[in-house]
């Protein structure tokens, strides 16, 4: 658990303290690649749903945050 917390803090630190240089539009070939999207894939939609139902936690992953029962 401590390891995961450390990993989480490390990720936050990368985002917060990285020296972000201004990237021009023509330099974003890799950033604009479909695989680089900062969201879950459409095909992951139902994976996120079953995880929401089978686990006690939810949210902050771009998935479903309410509505519907999910009680089975």
């Amino acid at each position: 658990m401590k390891k995961l917390k450390s990993l989480f803090l490390l990720a936050i630190s990368i985002i917060a303290f990285s020296s972000c240089s201004s990237i021009k539009a023509y330099e974003k070939m890799k950033i604009n690649d479909a695989e680089m999207e900062l969201s879950a894939r459409k095909a992951e939609k139902f994976e996120q749903n079953f995880q929401l139902y089978r686990e006690g936690s939810s949210g902050a992953n771009g998935g479903k945050s309410g509505g519907g029962c999910g009680c089975n």
């Binding site: 999207e37 089978r54 992953n61």
Partner: protein, 400 residues
């Protein structure tokens, strides 16, 4: 002479004005103002699970369940006279499931209505984007209908991009107003005796409110990251009243949980393009709520580009959670407890989820069908430390 001069000036101004008008027209061509088809996605999945901790039978018994889910998602757009882009998204989802444990609500029937059900959930969203200013606002409405449950939802969103489009901020608020027709286990119905909370055939409310704030940043040519906070609040019937709870003195009651829940998840995504053929996608989440569940999620996916239009993406996800203070296993609750549940989704466990996806997006279309721009297939196996196992296979077809 004065009259001629004024006529020339008027003609000149008229010509200037007519040119000015034509330039304005050219900048926003009429064609672009027509509603344009952007893309359509068809997502199908088949899910199967099995385990031996069904909450319907008090934390023991089969959890066998199959679910066939389908959504059709249509995106249209148009530009208005002011050059703003309007995007309309319509989604229709239909899930069909069969649940062996739900059938135990009333075991005297061989196949009760609760054994299988269909959920239908249409939604509509409208987004208005000013691309020059990098701002957008959006509205959404949704509904969901199944045998004993209906839901109506609405949302409002705002997004802003920096001038260089390297930083994006978005905020979204959502509300869901649900109604649940209460069903009690068959043994607790004759005297309408569910012990506390809503009783058989009551129409119980369950309302969910959430706000989501995200900030994304392009860090360099290969790296970008996002952080997201999504506090949520639920109120109303949060227990599943047809789930049984057996106490130390053999008393049977229907699950009973507090009518409020506050959730605080914080998530982060970091994606890195390694070399020319590998994309590392990661997701981390920390979660806490006032039912004493703390959880951590870590996920990594390695997308390997086999060619410019095909990739394979193995993934692994680890999840762990602490036990809710309201959970106890079969026969371990005492009658002195105010709230009680034997639902193992609220127990302490960890889970492993792994699998792979393949994605094809050839420029000439999948299988030579020009409109079919992308095909993605994914398979995943889920294993929970308390014995629940599941498999899911999903397919996404994208039309452009």
């Amino acid at each position: 002479m004065k009259y001629i001069s004024l006529t020339i000036v008027a003609l000149y101004l008229g010509i200037i004005a007519s040119f000015a008008q034509s330039i304005k027209k050219d900048s926003i061509p009429y064609e672009k103002r027509k509603l344009k088809f952007e893309q359509a996605d068809l997502v199908n999945s088949y899910y199967h699970q099995d385990g031996n901790n069904s909450a319907v039978t008090g934390g023991v018994g089969t959890e066998k369940l199959t679910d066939f889910s389908n959504t059709f998602d249509l995106k249209l757009s148009k530009y208005d006279k002011l050059g703003r882009k309007h995007t309309y998204n319509f989604e229709l989802g239909v899930d069909t499931y069969t649940s062996a444990s739900s059938d135990k609500i009333d075991p005297s029937t061989i196949t009760s209505p609760s054994y299988s059900d269909v959920r239908v959930y249409p939604s509509l969203s409208w987004d208005i984007a000013n691309e020059q200013k990098g701002k957008s606002i959006g509205f959404s409405i949704s509904t969901s209908v199944e045998y004993d449950y209906t839901s109506i939802g609405a949302g409002l969103s705002f997004a802003k991009s920096s001038k260089d489009q390297n930083t994006d901020f978005s905020a979204k608020i959502q509300a869901f107003f649900d109604t649940w027709k209460v069903i009690l286990p068959i043994e607790l119905r004759p005297n309408n005796d569910g012990y506390g909370g809503y009783q058989q055939n009551d129409n119980a409310p369950r309302n969910s409110f959430s706000a989501a704030f995200s900030l994304s940043q392009v860090i360099n040519k290969n790296l970008q990251a996002l952080i997201m906070v999504e506090p949520g609040y639920q109120t109303g019937l949060l227990a599943t009243r047809y789930q049984r709870v057996y106490f130390t003195n053999n008393v049977l009651k229907a699950e009973f949980l507090p009518s409020e829940r506050i959730k605080l998840p914080i998530g982060a995504r970091v994606n890195y393009f390694l070399g020319d053929h590998i994309v590392l996608r990661s997701f981390l989440r920390y979660y806490k709520d006032n039912w004493d569940i703390n959880s951590q999620t870590a996920e990594i996916e390695t997308s390997i580009k086999l060619s410019s239009f095909a990739s394979i993406s193995p993934f692994y996800r680890y999840y762990q959670q602490t036990q809710s203070k309201y959970f106890a296993a079969y026969g371990l609750h005492t009658t002195a407890q105010e709230f009680y549940s034997s639902d193992y989704d609220l127990s302490k466990f960890h889970s492993d989820y792994f699998g792979a996806g393949v994605r094809f997006a050839p420029p000439a279309g999948v299988l030579g069908i020009s409109r079919l721009s992308m095909l993605e297939l994914r398979y995943g196996h889920y294993k929970r430390s308390n014995g629940l196992n599941s498999n899911i296979i999903s397919m996404n077809l994208r039309f452009k």
